[in-house]
């Protein structure tokens, strides 16, 4: 009973709380990192160094008036943020944060579920989030959100192909779809896959930037062009849900990249015995650290680069990334068969 019901439920609860907190602080981190890049201080007022700013933000978003435009499609309008958020959170179920660990005397793996199609599960669930984006824009019954949601969905659909292709080459390397087994295979080979597949990582990362609508691919919410994007008409808690989902998706992308390319919970250079003392640090800390670094790169890129234009984005996706990804799959397949 404890094994089958309570432990997973506790895990889910811990995970949800953790993710929501992480998202809240990711927003703060983004503001801080941007501020530092731009030679200013960022939020400083709420708590020491603005550390309580997320709390203030959440309170503000919750108590704000929640407006539904008069001619919006009420049901869909309400449903859209939920559709966006739920997949973003559900995906975390299969991400292994660490190896089997003793927690309060119970030996358990640090993931909610290890299903044998883990990677595909992530891809397919994540692809559902797009409905929220499209419907949010459509249901607002407003032109700018509609344009933005079209951009968003076209962008998501086309970059998903490239991202999935890179995942295929990772599957070929690991010989499994299970997230845990992918990490274990990296352990067995003593090699982070990023060193074997730098191109795949690059494509994955660029595609990830595009899929999460981050700069320089933040066209769907380019506020200078579309006054905010598909959630222009949203306010209050529903807007917060969109926001939450966006940052949760960022964490997903970073966490998956960590698992696939950076050896998940493994320490750096897992095959070099001389670095054995690094094992003192528990695996989940390694995992979080790597995810954090990747997230930092997300923010860094945003503070540095201008924004692509819609057609250029499409061209990059279809004419550069997808052919590269396919070529990568073929080369990987040949290499796997030959070696």
């Amino acid at each position: 009973m404890i094994e089958t019901l309570v432990v997973p439920l506790v895990k889910i609860a811990v995970l949800l709380v953790g993710i929501l907190t992480a998202v809240a602080y990711l927003v703060l981190l983004e503001r801080k990192v941007q501020a530092w890049v731009q030679v200013r201080l960022g939020p400083m007022r709420v708590g020491p160094h603005g550390l309580l700013q997320p709390v203030a933000d959440v309170i503000k978003l919750i108590i704000k008036e929640d407006i539904t435009p008069a001619r919006a499609d009420r049901w869909v309008y309400t449903l859209a943020p939920i559709i966006v958020l739920v997949p973003a959170l559900v995906v975390f179920a299969v991400i292994p944060f660490g190896p089997e660990t003793n927690v309060f005397g119970i030996r358990m793996p640090l993931h909610v579920a290890d299903i044998n199609v883990g990677l595909l599960y992530i891809v397919s669930i994540a692809s559902l989030g797009i409905y929220g984006t499209i419907l949010g824009g459509w249901a607002s019954n407003s032109k700018y959100p509609l344009l933005a949601s079209l951009r968003a969905s076209a962008q998501l659909v086309s970059y998903e192909v490239a991202v999935t292709m890179t995942l295929v080459s990772m599957i070929l390397m690991a010989g499994s779809l299970s997230m845990v087994e992918i990490v274990e295979s990296q352990q067995a080979r003593g090699l982070w896959f990023v060193f074997a597949q730098p191109l795949a990582f690059f494509i994955y990362f660029v595609g990830g930037l595009a899929e999460t609508n981050r700069a320089p691919f933040d066209l769907p919410e380019a506020e200078q062009e579309l006054t905010g994007g598909f959630h222009t008409e949203y306010s209050g808690i529903r807007f917060a849900l969109f926001f939450l989902a966006e940052y949760a998706n960022m964490i997903v992308i970073a966490a998956v990249a960590t698992t696939l390319f950076f050896g998940g919970w493994l320490r750096p250079f897992p095959s070099v015995a001389a670095l054995g003392l690094l094992d003192i640090v528990p695996g989940w800390i390694w995992f979080l650290l790597k995810t954090f670094v990747l997230l930092y790169v997300f923010l860094w890129v945003r503070a540095t680069l201008p924004r692509y234009r819609y057609d250029q984005l499409m061209r990059l996706g279809w004419k550069v990334l997808i052919p590269l990804a396919i070529a990568n799959v073929i080369v990987t397949a040949i290499a796997v068969v030959v070696l």
Binding site: D73, W75, V76, L79, I115, N116, V117, L120, Y121, V123, S124, I125, S127, L128, I130, Y131, I134, L135, W138, L146, L150, S153, V157, L177
Partner: protein
Amino acid sequence: MTIAFYTLAAFILALGVLVVSTKNTVHAVLFLVANFLCVAMLYVLLQAEFLAVIQVLVYAGGIVVLYLFVVMLVNLKRGPETHVDPRRRDRMGLLIGGAVLAEFVAILLYGFAPRATGAAPAAAAPGVGNVEQVGWSLYVDYLVPFEVASILLLVAMIGAIVLAKKEP
């Protein structure tokens, strides 16, 4: 397990009815997505996780998105009703309905007929993953039909592009 199955089945049927009965096409597409998700859960119940995931990925995440695009973008105003024969639709409906009904009846008859070979589908060998089984059967047992189907789809895709492409 049985309860789960019947609940899901009820949901699937109800959503299917909603898809055809809703006036608002966007809502209909939404119900369709929900329908597909329920079907995917059904697959999970059957322990066919790979199929379930593919169902979500391809149908719910891919194809229906395109439907949604079309429904949202194409003007929803009804085109001119050009039915010369007002009864034509009814006759067509009857025809198709009859065919579907016959199919159902055939399935039912077949389903309730005493099984000749009972244990054929349940050959899930332990240790071999679901994915591998699908892979084996697709790429070894049914390689030719699979490739033919892919080429057919490719042809269809190219044809659609050619048709849709504006003349320079």
